[in-house]
């Protein structure tokens, strides 16, 4: 498959995330990279010119970075690609570059609004909408995994935000090593420890964000919450929210509860959980 990687307004973090993939050697045998701005010998203009002249299309166009609402070339490239993948929150929702500039957006969205560069009903040559790999950055397994599915002829099923369900149907909370603390409502009172859950005091978005960070680990070894940092919900459209390290509360109840949990249920269960929490989870240990 022929891949073209395009960068727009970006920090290049998704590129460096991608380069962490364990077996790039075999990957580059399966996929021919026509162009990658940080890696290729030739410049982009030259490559695009040759590409258009040759009449051969692109199999996968990967877009990294936010775009401007009037970008002609990006739109043209999307048209000649069989599949288009938006990689990282900037390309999906606009993210940080869009915060300070109204003319900046993602391929399909500007934050939660369907106001991206491409038309609402955009389909690439292969008949799929843009495949969105949100995350700041996206995990290498999500990127490569999606490419491999396309290469195998198995188009990924997408969720309501155009993200492959395989990677975005579970919460960051799944597989977090602090789950037992969450269950028994043993909250971390301080940062800097392996113990305690970060939901109540430190703004952890684990139960509110769709990502597989704790089941497909980062750099094969860890994740934010495993390293004691709250999840900031970087796979969702509202990243980066204001007050990233705080849990907003009303009358002692978190303003936002885990997805699908009612306020009544939360209050009842947490009261009971706290009362019966095993001693070994409390204190220093």
């Amino acid at each position: 498959m022929r891949v073209f990687w395009l960068q727009r307004l970006t920090c290049c973090g998704n590129t460096h995330s991608f380069l962490n993939y364990e077996s790039l050697h075999t990957l580059f045998k399966r996929f021919e990279f026509l162009y990658h701005p940080s890696l290729s010998l030739k410049a982009q203009e030259e490559t695009v010119e040759e590409l258009i002249k040759s009449g051969e299309g692109i199999d996968i166009l990967i877009v990294e970075g936010a775009v401007r609402t009037d970008e002609v070339e990006t739109r043209e490239l999307c048209k000649i690609a069989k599949y288009v993948i938006a990689v990282g929150n900037c390309a999906v929702y606009g993210n940080i570059p869009a915060l300070a500039d109204e003319t900046v957006c993602g391929l399909s969205y500007r934050f939660k609004e369907r106001r991206g560069l491409l038309d609402k009903d955009f389909k690439s040559r292969g008949g799929m909408p843009v495949i969105n790999l949100s995350g700041c950055p996206a995990h290498p397994e999500w990127i490569v995994g999606t490419m491999l599915m396309l290469a195998e002829g198995m188009e990924p099923e997408l969720d309501q935000w155009g993200r492959p369900k395989v990677f975005y149907s579970s919460l960051t909370h799944w597989g977090c090593t602090r789950n037992e603390y969450f269950e028994w409502k043993v909250e971390a009172e301080e940062l800097g420890s392996k113990r305690g859950c970060l939901f109540y005091h430190f703004g952890c978005r684990g139960p509110l964000s769709y990502s597989s960070c704790n089941t497909i680990l980062w750099n094969e070894v860890s994740s934010k919450t495993r390293a004691g940092t709250p999840c900031f919900g970087c796979t969702e459209y509202d990243f980066p929210r204001l007050g990233l390290w705080e849990t907003k509360q009303y009358a002692g109840i978190p303003a936002e509860l885990p997805i699908g949990v009612s306020k009544r249920g939360y209050i009842m269960l947490s009261g009971i959980a706290k009362m019966f929490a095993p001693e070994r989870l409390k204190g220093e240990g």
Binding site: E22, L41, L191, V221, S222, G228, P240, L242, W245
Partner: protein, 435 residues
């Protein structure tokens, strides 16, 4: 006069180079980088803790340096000190980030240019295919794993907080890191310099750079043939904010000065062609980065080469490669000290004060040189945030009196490939330059 406008491949981000030719020589050069993302503006009005999540997003390859600069600026403003354990761990992860950068830069960004001069090098350095290219990428991602052991992930971790770090590393992380460092040493000795450890250490002591083998040796041989040993010099004024293995100071008129006054660093207004503000120290342009650090720390190999060729293309590149060894050595020292304080707490504070007021600086030696963050907080809210990046020093534009450092280094060159290579020797990063 002929004007040429080039798009630069293999750059972090987007950059264009304008060359002005006269009598087959480059008479003037301008670097155009314009893709602003407005990160400083986004920070104003937010709680200061948000900076720890947002500033790493300035740059995908040196985001960790931004995180550390941010946390230091906050600690400075709030009058907080991290625990010794946290300080050491932060030093280690930030240095590892520099290491992965240098490995990628040399093999993925620098060496492929030589293919355009020597077809036979394809087998080694060709993007996506070359044997060395793959080995280097693999090595870089192992180093990134070393960072993640402590920070949860790389790129874009936010594990440094006022007073310390969020993770609670113990023996297991240290032993895993040690293995990665051993592998990196092996990589460096067998591929980069092509020598046994004892032999390399001896050459280092003698300052005999001519004896280097491996890819560094090949690089020097190619430079010799292409005349690049002497080309690409700039002002030969170098500056280091102090960090990694090097003390702070500056080099000027052949003398090393061991003190640096932060209040003498200023950002000037950008000229019309550039989105970047030039940075000056005592009114003059300085180059920052590995060459500055190596001279400050007295690396004899770099010193002897610098004595012969000043701040030329080849010296700049060699300083960057050799820095890998200097950094591995200092990390080993830090690991030894860390063993002694492993029982300490990860943070001196645990909770961060929600309302706080103050002004603070955070200075870090990032891969490309001195990085400065300055923030002002009132009642917990950021009033002002300013970032001066290493690339602003090196790739920043001209002011009324001086050309930018990289601009100056390209004047007088005879080929556009050479101009691009010289530019790349500064480890071009446009995303940092504009942020």
């Amino acid at each position: 006069m002929k004007v040429e406008n080039l798009e630069l491949p293999r750059v972090e981000g987007e950059a264009r180079l304008e060359l002005f030719w006269k009598d087959r020589l480059i008479e003037d050069a301008r670097i155009r980088i314009n893709s602003m993302r407005g990160i400083e503006r986004v920070l104003v009005g937010r709680h200061y803790m948000d900076a720890l999540v947002i500033t790493p997003r300035v740059c995908g390859i040196c985001g960790h340096a931004h995180l550390i600069a941010s946390v230091r600026a906050i600690e400075d403003a709030l009058g907080i000190k991290p625990t010794e354990k946290a300080r050491l761990v932060r030093n280690i992860t930030q240095s590892l980030e520099v290491l992965q950068n240098h490995v990628k830069w040399f093999y993925l960004f620098m060496m492929p240019d030589f293919i355009l001069l020597e077809e036979r090098l394809r087998g080694l350095y060709e993007p996506f295919r070359g044997e060395r290219w793959h080995i280097a990428i693999n090595m870089a991602s192992k180093i990134a794993k070393g960072i993640a052991l402590f920070s949860g992930q790389w790129p874009h971790s936010s594990y440094a907080i006022p007073g310390g770090i969020t993770s609670e590393p113990f023996v297991k992380e240290l032993t895993s890191l040690r293995q990665i460092l051993l592998e990196l040493k092996h990589f460096f000795l067998s591929y980069v310099v092509g020598m046994e450890e004892a032999e390399f250490v001896k050459c280092l002591k003698e300052g005999s750079w001519q004896k280097l083998n491996g890819d560094a040796g090949l690089f020097l041989e190619l430079c010799h043939r292409e005349g690049l040993l002497t080309l690409g010099s700039s002002y030969d004024r170098l500056i280091s904010g102090g960090g990694l293995y090097a003390p702070c100071g500056y080099f000027m008129k052949r003398v090393v000065h061991g003190r640096l006054k932060v209040d003498q660093i200023e950002e000037l207004n950008a000229p019309s062609y550039s989105g970047t503000k030039p940075v000056r120290y005592r009114g003059m342009p300085f180059e920052t980065g590995p060459l500055a650090r190596q001279l400050m720390s007295g690396n004899l190999m770099v010193k002897s080469m610098h004595k012969e060729f000043k701040d030329s293309f080849a010296v700049r590149v060699l300083a960057r490669i050799l820095e890998v060894w200097s950094i591995v050595e200092v990390i080993e020292l830090w690991i030894e000290r860390l063993k002694e304080v492993l029982q300490e707490k990860s943070t001196s504070l645990g909770r961060f004060p929600s309302k706080a007021t103050g002004i603070g600086y955070g200075i870090v030696e990032a891969a490309r040189g001195t990085l400065i963050h300055r923030l002002s907080v009132r009642n917990g809210t950021i009033q002002d945030y300013a970032i001066i990046t290493p690339s602003q020093w090196n790739l920043g534009p001209r002011c009324e009196n001086f050309l930018g450092v990289a601009e100056k280094a390209m004047v007088g060159l005879k080929s556009k490939l050479h101009a691009q290579m010289v530019l790349r020797s500064f480890d071009l990063c446009s995303v940092c330059t504009t942020h």
